[in-house]
Amino acid sequence: MGWTERASAFRWKVRALLSRRRLERDLEDEMRFHLERRTEAYGADGLQDADARLAAERRFGNAFALREECRDAWTFPRLEALAQDARIALRALRQSPLFTTVTILSLAVGIGANVAMFSLVSGVLLRPLPYPEADRLVRLTGFYPRGALVALQQRSQGMDVAGAVPVAANLTGQGHAERVTIGVVSANLFAVLGRAPALGRGFEEGDGVPGRDGLVVLSHSLWVARFQADPAIVGRTLTLDGVERQVVGVMPAGFHFPSTSTQAWIPLRLDPASEAYWGFGWMPLVARLRPGVDRAQAHEELRRLVDEVARLFPWPAPSWNPTAAAIPLQDDVVRDIRPKLLVLQAAVGMVLLIACANVASLLLARATARQKEMAVRASLGAGRGRILRQLLTESVVLGVLGGAAGLLLAWLSLAGARAALLDGSWDGTPVVIDGRALAFVTALSLLCGLLFGLVPALAASRVDLLGSLKSGSARSASRGGVRARAAFIAGEVALAVVLAVGAGLLVRTLWGLTQAEPGFRAGETLAVGAYPGQSACEPRQRCVALYDGLLRRARESEGVAEAALASAVPLDGEQPLLPVEMEGHPLSPDDATATLLWGGAVSPGYFDLLRIPLLRGRSFTAGDVEGSEPVVIVSAGTARRFWPGQDPIGKTVRVAWEQRWRTVVGVAGDVRQYALSGWTPQNIAGAVYMPYPQSVALDRRIPSAMTLLARTSGLAPDLAPRLRGLAAGVSPDVAVSEVRTLRSLRDTSVSEPRSLMWTFAAFAACALLLAALGTYGIVSYQLSQRTYEIGVRLAIGASRRHVFGLVVGESLRLVLAGLVVGLVAAVLLGRYLSSFLYGVSARDPGTFAGVAALLLLTALMAALGPGRRAARTDPVRALRAD
């Protein structure tokens, strides 16, 4: 049939769906007309009425069959047979509501959890970045000073390289001062990413030249929030960190790079004469592959260029960027969340497997119970294919119903999962159940239906006609069926064990974290950030005076017991890095590989306020001012690492770019600055504290953004707004953060492990529930098949307790096999979870024992009911049943 014919036939058939009754009537009329005319013709030939009619009918043929044949022309015969099978299946399912409910629930849980996870995974991991040809964008890992960026841009044949560093800056001049994240970017960044400004222009070559770099490009959101989407914004000026900058353009909505909070971009200052040009610098580079270049080639080129550019440094830099690599930008963006999502996806896959095993064993049991029905069908002439088709249709119908219920469940749980798993690390792009997820659920439901339907259907369709019909009701299930069901149960128990062990380990982790000693006591401490902007700190004495005043007023405030200042607070996510040289550990001339420390600038009273013990020497005092002898306090771990077995007091430390040495006057207890687990970035070797007036930050200036800490005495509900007012009152140009408690910082820092734990625990609970359901279903079913046998046992004198023990023992044996397999699998799979664990080994015997106990208990509960029922069997009725 040609395509036009096919198409018009399809249209015709669809239209016919609505007018079948009329078509039937027309067909009837048409055929009657024919028969009447033929009868008349025979009548004219001289036949009697009745004979004429008979002859006409004979000549016409089997009208019934012909009408059927006509009908086939208007309908979709194969499709409608399917619909009929589905109707039969639905009727059969309605007749056993318990089986149907359990099955659909199992599937709904399995499929629902999978769709929710898949939506997250596809929304986060598989979603392409919002740039044209995003797959041609790569991240160049490593450390690059500005000079290296320029050298790479000039030399690379295969890539267009751009750089972008996120920094915080004060936006002033339009009402209250505001702290914003801005990107310091090379002129070609927008072009490399392939996004043009929505208004005005981006940056051009030469915009980075000192004196000509007073420019800014706004993000769409800042333009709307701060400038009321003023269409004449281009050409106006605004003040960022005290520097007037002219707005040259506005980027389109949704464009935020390098971080999702970036609100504006300023050109990267390129001044070969400046010290910073080749100095220590952290600048993430991004590059677009030129046409015809693949990532492997780009990587090769980068390795070659790193060696070449290393020779351009004004000092020898033989060990610069030894591991620089070109990796897909997409991978870099999802680097942090990827392992978590993959572990959860694997967990949720196991839940689905359990659900399928559950359903398969239930279907198998059901098929065995229906052997007689199948035998009757077969003896009435249904072929094996026909029976197989009907059984498969039934399981596919179950799969589709389960899929629909699962979709509902996924939709209900997605919001929660999104909130729990994506906090902070995600830019808030909506994650929804999209077309891909719908296709996924459809495929999953059908696959489940076919998969879990096939084995039982094959088993059931192999009907032993004579055997089934002869034995009244099955007194014992076939051996193969029993073994298959036992395997299903063992399998799902094993999977549930793996998940439960994982959940147990994560629970232990979270508990360990909440019990962890971070090295400081948060107590009732409030923290508020004050950001006067870098320009307020020139000369640096201005900032020293400003913060002195703030600290004094805070201490005088009612309800404040202690107050202190710090450039960074433990666990709040900041990393104030400082490259230094430690006495006795001479630096190589290449300062890109200098020792990196946490470098905190603090006021006197900081260690007391946070209850950080001072182990040796003295704390900072009001006498440690700019002109006095430069001093530092190091952490105990730092002292041990660099001066083992020596007295750290009196040792000296030098900031990499400075000449003067600072003397260690004290040793403070170790503090978990980065995470409660004690995790520290690999390249950071310790911690050093400086008195604020003497301090210096990575930008070689005095830190301008300080956090005021206030330990409260008693309840003072208005203290938070008062503190905020204090900070803001210093100057109209000071931007002030929200007031937070140190406790909340601590809580926030465990939110990731907590969400992972809850999600995993939820999956494990689903798995246990499903396994229990499956065990219960199979045990009850097998029992119902053995009523006769139990009747015999009771009749010849077995005690009821013996029968109870028999049933319970058998189901425990079923579970035990799965338990052993599951524990072994959990040991093998533990290493995939180990990076998420803290304070507990992936083979923690306590957790394993607990899970084993929990599982046996669950199995016992599942077997209790059927066991009691078996013990109550009335032998007389059981034996008479057939």
Partner: protein
């Protein structure tokens, strides 16, 4: 799609052939089912006598495929009857099949003459 004219093992007319004959018959004027049956039998001098009812599934198939269009009208003896006529699509199909048919007959004839 098209099957050569002939009879199968039971001496029945092959289905594809019937389609072509129907198309040819209604190509001159719209006709109802009975008239089509009569016409085919008259012209073929009863050589193609078939189960008459078999005509109807063929008519319906052709209508569904868009080769025929049907409408209810009044028959020559004033009764309601369903008339079939050829669509543009049907005419194209008929031409194609007629061409194929002619070539095949010619081929068979040549074989019969030379053999």
């Amino acid at each position: 799609m098209f099957k050569p004219l002939g009879r199968d093992a039971q001496g029945e007319l092959m289905p594809g052939t019937l389609d072509m004959l129907v198309l040819k018959t209604v190509s001159r004027a719209p006709l109802h089912g009975y008239a089509i049956a009569e016409s085919i039998q008259r012209i073929s001098e009863d050589a193609l006598r078939v189960e008459e009812g078999a005509l109807y599934p063929a008519l319906h198939r052709l209508e569904v495929k868009g080769l025929l269009a049907a409408s209810w009208g009044t028959s020559e003896n004033n009764r309601r009857a369903k008339f079939y006529r050829l669509t543009a699509q049907g005419r194209k199909q008929l031409e194609q099949e007629a061409g194929y048919w002619a070539r095949m007959v010619a081929g068979v004839a040549r074989v019969m003459e030379t053999a």
